[in-house]
Symmetry: C2
Subunit: 306 residues, 2 copies
């Protein structure tokens, strides 16, 4: 690792969100069974060699149309891993293309491991020479706060952003996350434990921290509890659109900044990548469907954060 | 997915452990700064193209020498991910070679995610056509029990083994895992919640379940608490050797079977891959060092489980 860089994820993200007027993050999750007809090739089985090529062509078309429209994209690495090494190569090129297009890249990897293994993950994704070099990553802290340290080191050296899982929006999320520990639920305890790192990683320009948390939009009341513990943390809200939360729910934890409500990003994956009428062989029809879905999400989130 | 297969991870593993007389699992964790001189090429920086080739040559030599000596190997995927797509290709070939050599493969990935993402991870590693097709995988259940379901489906269809994180051996492990939930620690609560799946995945031949847990050897007393919750679960003990636990500590949760103490596997990574005197350019010296480390671990574990 080299010395401190001038890049700071939270500052870069929030300044861009203010400029664009909305906190939309587009999830780059290539569900194989939903790739539009325009891009599909052959069986679309994960092991078929033409599948990775189809996924790449689709992603390239999407990324090129996101330039100048949103601050950040979030590839979910599982959808690339299911294609094996060929899928990882697609991910590497998609990330590079997104960064060339001026988009910040938040890799949704939810990694969590100890010691030298966590160090290897941090080297894999958060260094300037990493093959799938991303601006930020999602992490799982179940193994302990020490497991975040290799990632925090990249936040210090390269300005990387870290989003630690707090409360998710799936049906079983409460199995562990909501368990009462003393007088608070476990997810609030996780948030409280992150407060010192949050403070350390606050950006000079915006006051927002490159230590963020993942918090599902379907539980807006609980978002306020997390915000109380972490006043400067960006919140990644994954449950907007296909997962059922409204734009207003999604920004419940946001606070007022110079250009409106701010303090997080709201992800939509399927709602934008696979909208109604986008499964077509006609390029112009596909482009109109993507554009309509993108514009609707942008408008809703711009209004909700006004 | 197709119909039920005759393969059952726990049955296959335990029968092989009984045959060999020890529960050693060898961790295939290619630490770049520890690859012996015999195999090193160039700078060994992750991004250097010859690094993946050096790692592959080293792994091939190790795997070939493990044939007939241990039941299972455990590649830690982070060490491959840090090499990017080229590293995943090395992992795919290393896994295939290990399986050809009659070794079971437990992929240490600690994945944990929701819905279609968990489904994509299960497709990536646990299906017959998966590019890095493994016999078992490690999982993180912080996001809830529903997130295990896609993996449980592969346990039912293909006999896959699942090892869910309970209590790890790192310094910060207690930050979340030891928190008291009612009158028990969180890790015991996790174990208790896994009991129904454990019961469902019990093998006909040995009575051991393909639902296992990860439990660090440095906390042997707590292992008994987990064993009480999960009498049929295999326990993956990662802390033996370099992490400081003795062979006797490592098998504390084992119970008596027809050929000695059984009910888990004990992993050693650095202790076998990178023993003293193995960093040499001389092939015969390297082979002797590996063999000595392997024999010592086998002897210790055979004695501890007698």
């Amino acid at each position: 690792m080299t010395g401190p860089s001038s890049f700071h994820f939270a500052d870069a993200l929030v300044l861009r969100v203010r400029e664009l007027g909305h906190p939309l993050c587009v999830g780059l999750d290539p569900h194989l069974d939903a790739i539009p007809a325009l891009f599909r090739r052959g069986s679309m089985e994960p092991a078929a060699p033409e599948t990775a090529a189809a996924v790449e062509e689709f992603l390239t078309a999407v990324i090129d149309r996101l330039e100048g429209r949103c601050a950040v994209v979030k590839p979910q690495i599982a959808f690339y891993e299911q294609l094996g090494a060929a899928g990882l190569a697609v991910l590497e090129r998609a990330i590079a293309r997104a960064r060339e297009r001026g988009l910040l890249v938040l890799l949704d990897a939810k990694r969590g491991d100890i010691g030298s293994t966590a160090e290897a993950y941090a080297r894999a994704y958060l260094e300037p020479t990493s093959p799938a070099r991303s601006d930020a990553i999602t992490l799982n802290a179940y193994l302990g706060l020490d497991t975040l340290e290799p990632f925090a080191a990249r936040a210090r050296s390269f300005g990387a952003g870290l989003f630690v899982l707090a409360r998710t929006s799936n049906a079983g999320a409460g199995d562990l996350q909501d368990l009462q520990v003393g007088d608070i639920p476990l997810f609030v305890r996780v948030a409280r434990a992150l407060a010192p790192l949050q403070q350390e990683l606050v950006g000079k320009e915006t006051g927002w921290s490159s230590l963020g948390v993942v918090f599902g939009a379907t539980w807006p009341e609980q978002a306020e509890a997390v915000r109380a513990e972490l006043p400067n943390a960006l919140i990644l809200v994954p449950g907007y659109g296909a997962q059922g939360a409204t734009a207003t729910d999604a920004v419940r934890s946001f606070t007022r900044g110079p250009a409106g409500l701010e303090g997080g990003i709201v992800n939509s994956s399927r709602g934008i990548l696979f909208p109604a009428r986008a499964d077509t062989e006609d390029a112009a029809t596909w482009e109109r469907a993507l554009e309509a879905a993108l514009s609707r999400a942008i408008t809703e989130l711009a209004e909700a954060t006004r």
